[in-house]
């Protein structure tokens, strides 16, 4: 029950640790010296998609002095790497990993805005371009005791942490139990184990509690579920129920579309707030998947649904395109600039500034669109249509007739159709094919990918993985072809605009000219590579994979 070199206990009530009764067993063997009381604060951080949690890491930003950061039972503690200070980031990982660094930062924050240091170095490859968001803010009163041995040497520190979350607006705070941490001074693990055992002998103490963050996240998830059950507001709730092959095709498609609508909604605040570029990306993917689902399987929805909603989702997609194009260009800017051979990368500085100005303009336009009544109307109307379709009335007790079209049959049929469209275009492709043919194939391949992902839950896993792996390779090639073309056209357009408003000098325009030439060459290379790759996709083996991909109802 008592593990490792650090020990944490939950108390039944905070008063227990303040009384002589709680300390009496320890005092029989050690001297106990009460220490200071402090008010501290911490902000638990992670990315929106939980990259740190997936990597087994927790990250806290400390806002008070003299912290002992409550961790996980068994985690090493104390010593020179022990307590944190205000303004520090503390990263804790599996196997007792613990890193600290100063980081005067506001949250949310991109990793590049965090000062250089061991925590930033460790986080960078994990969080990538996602912002670190505050998951929870906690204020805490901390009481400390020192436990001394016979030489009056401090061998153990004990912290009582009485924490209360500072809940975001509209969200009830989770109750946090008082947490008692028994922390060995480095090299005195045996004494800490002894003190922990003596304290644990007291009543109302529970060993090895869940971490503070676990408690907070569990409470938040429960609140979200409760809210989702009673309202129709956007709440990141549990994953949608898996597809049932026997399910009615209309209900299955409506359920999938509702899931995509939820993705759109949860990414709206981060997109409007420009927290990081991935919110917009994820929103756009959900919109594109919605459009593809309407195109490929919208016929199972009530008549008129596609005609009513497809133009609206096209509008939403187009609303977001200019901003995403700027994001993509800026995200790859350094790599693009590094490829210049004739011009100097510094010559592109005015272009970079121009792009940031354009991005601000586009951000305002996008924000207006995403806050518009047109979008709220679309979301409400779309949910109103889908909800009854996805949750048909429960059976009345009589044997119900099988659905006219089940989900498995629909999935096999639509995957097959999308595949045949790709196969036809791929077969017609050759070295002399015009760029339009490659674009057409790219769009159809994307549709196939989306319909595969939509119905992934109904597919045979091994065949699905093999098919998607090959499809992805083709898509990467076609994507490089398109990226080069988009970049080339963008730079041409930027050059015209910058020349007109006088923000580009000759050196900048020459550098941009070199970029255009490089993008053109890159596009030609990508076209050749894409044509070569397509041959590997449209094979008899893959045709057979597609034919038997979906598990029968």
């Amino acid at each position: 029950m008592l593990r490792g070199s650090g020990y944490e206990f939950l108390l039944a009530g905070p008063a227990d640790a303040e009384t002589d009764t709680a300390w009496a067993p320890v005092r029989t063997e050690y001297q106990v010296v009460p220490g200071p009381r402090r008010q501290v604060g911490r902000v638990w951080l992670d990315t929106f998609d939980g990259r740190l949690r997936s990597a087994g890491l927790t990250l806290a930003y400390l806002t008070g002095t003299g912290h002992h950061l409550p961790g996980r039972a068994g985690a090493p503690a104390g010593g020179a790497a022990g307590n944190g200070r205000a303004g520090e980031l503390v990263l804790a990982g599996p196997e007792g990993e613990r890193l600290r660094q100063p980081a005067a930062a506001r949250w949310p924050s991109l990793i590049d805005a965090v000062p250089a240091g061991p925590v930033a170095d460790r986080l960078r490859p994990i969080v990538g371009i996602r912002a670190l968001l505050p998951l929870a803010r906690v204020r805490s009163g901390v009481r400390e005791w020192r436990v001394l041995d016979g030489a009056d040497k401090t061998v153990v520190r004990v912290y009582l942490d009485l924490a209360a979350p500072t809940a975001p607006a509209g969200e009830a705070p989770a109750a946090l139990p008082a947490r008692l941490s028994v922390v060995p001074v480095r090299g005195y693990q045996a004494q800490a184990a002894r003190v922990a055992r003596l304290l644990a002998a007291g009543t109302g103490i529970t060993a090895d509690p869940p971490t503070e963050l676990d408690v907070l996240l569990a409470a938040r998830a429960a609140a979200a579920r409760a809210a989702a059950a009673g309202t129709t507001t956007a709440v990141p709730g549990p994953a949608p129920a898996p597809l049932d092959p026997d399910q009615d095709a209309t209900a299955a498609v409506a359920g999938l579309l509702l899931g995509l609508l939820e993705t759109i909604e949860v990414n709206l605040p981060g997109t409007i707030g420009a927290v990081d570029t991935e919110f917009l990306h994820d929103l756009r993917v959900a919109v594109r998947r919605t459009r593809s689902a309407l195109k490929l399987a919208g016929d199972v929805l009530p008549a008129g649904t596609v005609d009513r909603f497809a133009p609206e989702f096209r509008w939403l997609g187009e609303l977001t395109t200019p901003m995403r194009d700027l994001d993509v260009f800026l995200l790859g800017f350094d790599s693009i600039a590094a490829e210049l051979t004739e011009a100097d990368a510094a010559d592109l500085a005015p272009l970079r500034e121009y792009l940031f100005r354009q991005r601000e303009i586009e951000q305002r336009r996008l924000r207006r669109g995403l806050r518009s009544t047109r979008l709220t109307g679309l979301v409400d109307a779309w949910r109103a249509v889908l909800t009854p379709l996805a949750r048909p009335d429960p059976p009345t007790g009589r044997a119900t007739a099988p659905p006219p079209l089940d989900a498995a049959t629909l999935a096999q049929d639509r995957i097959g159709r999308a595949w045949r469209r790709v196969a036809r275009r791929a077969a017609a492709l050759g070295p002399a094919s015009p760029p339009e043919a490659l674009h057409d194939l790219r769009k159809r391949a994307k549709e196939l990918r989306y319909v595969l992902e939509l119905f992934a839950g109904l597919c045979r896993a091994q065949r699905y993985r093999a098919l998607v792996t090959e499809l992805k390779a083709v898509q990467d090639g076609l994507g490089a072809f398109q990226d080069a073309e988009v970049h080339r056209d963008q730079v041409r357009a930027y050059a015209g605009a910058m020349l007109a408003d006088g923000t580009a000098d000759a050196a900048t325009l020459l550098a941009m000219g070199e970029l255009v030439a490089r993008f053109g060459a890159a596009q030609r290379r990508a076209a050749g590579a894409a044509v070569a790759r397509v041959g590997g996709l449209v094979t008899e083996a893959n045709r057979r994979r597609v034919a038997g991909l979906v598990l029968p109802a």
Binding site: A80, D112, R146, D334, I336
Partner: protein, 269 residues
Amino acid sequence: MKVVASYNIKGGVGKTCTAVNLAYLASREGRRTLLWDLDPQAAATYLFRVRPRVKGGGGALISGRRPVQDVIKGTDFDGLDLLPADFTYRNMDLQLDGTKRPAQRLGRLLGTLAGEYDLVVLDCPPSVSLVSENVLHAADLLVVPLIPTTLSLRTFDQLTGFIAGFPRRPAVLAFFSMVDRRKLLHRQIVADLPAQRPGICAVHIPAAALVERMAVHRAPVPVYAARSQLARSYEQLWAAVAAAVTAPADPSGPSPVPATGPGPGSARR
């Protein structure tokens, strides 16, 4: 990680007091600090109330049979750890002599702690020996307490002459220790020499009864006499040491949004 050694060929000049107070002040400033008590007399170990014992003795540490990390003890002060002395350190010369590249063995052992500490302070035994040669190779900075006497200055010259031949020479920061202002010679040397001799700083530590009380309180001076002139002198000394070991800050600042992302060909629209 920087390594600072409190060192002098002479004994009884205040090396241990210097090492203990500098290590404490470094940790108080937020640096993760380790003090290695290399002196078998174990005075620094005693001052931090730690048992002067290393499992397996100095031989196990030097040979690598026992990792350095395993014998480190936390002190009563946050951010300050101690690698205790052991009486077997009296044989450390012999133990070092049996290793490959014996003059660099301590430096290699310290290298295993690089990610864990910002600063290591070595409290060295007096004399010129293989141990002290190791210290001179491992240290980024030698802090040399000097009693303001002619003989003490002579040993300082011996020390600087000795390290002059090193391919990687540590920086040297000497200061006057145990200064008795009632003595004319002390007053003259303290007043004149810092300006005349490079490597000797103007900070000096007075001879004070408070220093001797470290062994009574078993704590660094700023802990039990925070407002004393002695504590202020050690703080000034630490400021000089910190300036000598602190590298210039990285001038690069944060990049604008968005600043990083996938390379060419992996754009996701």
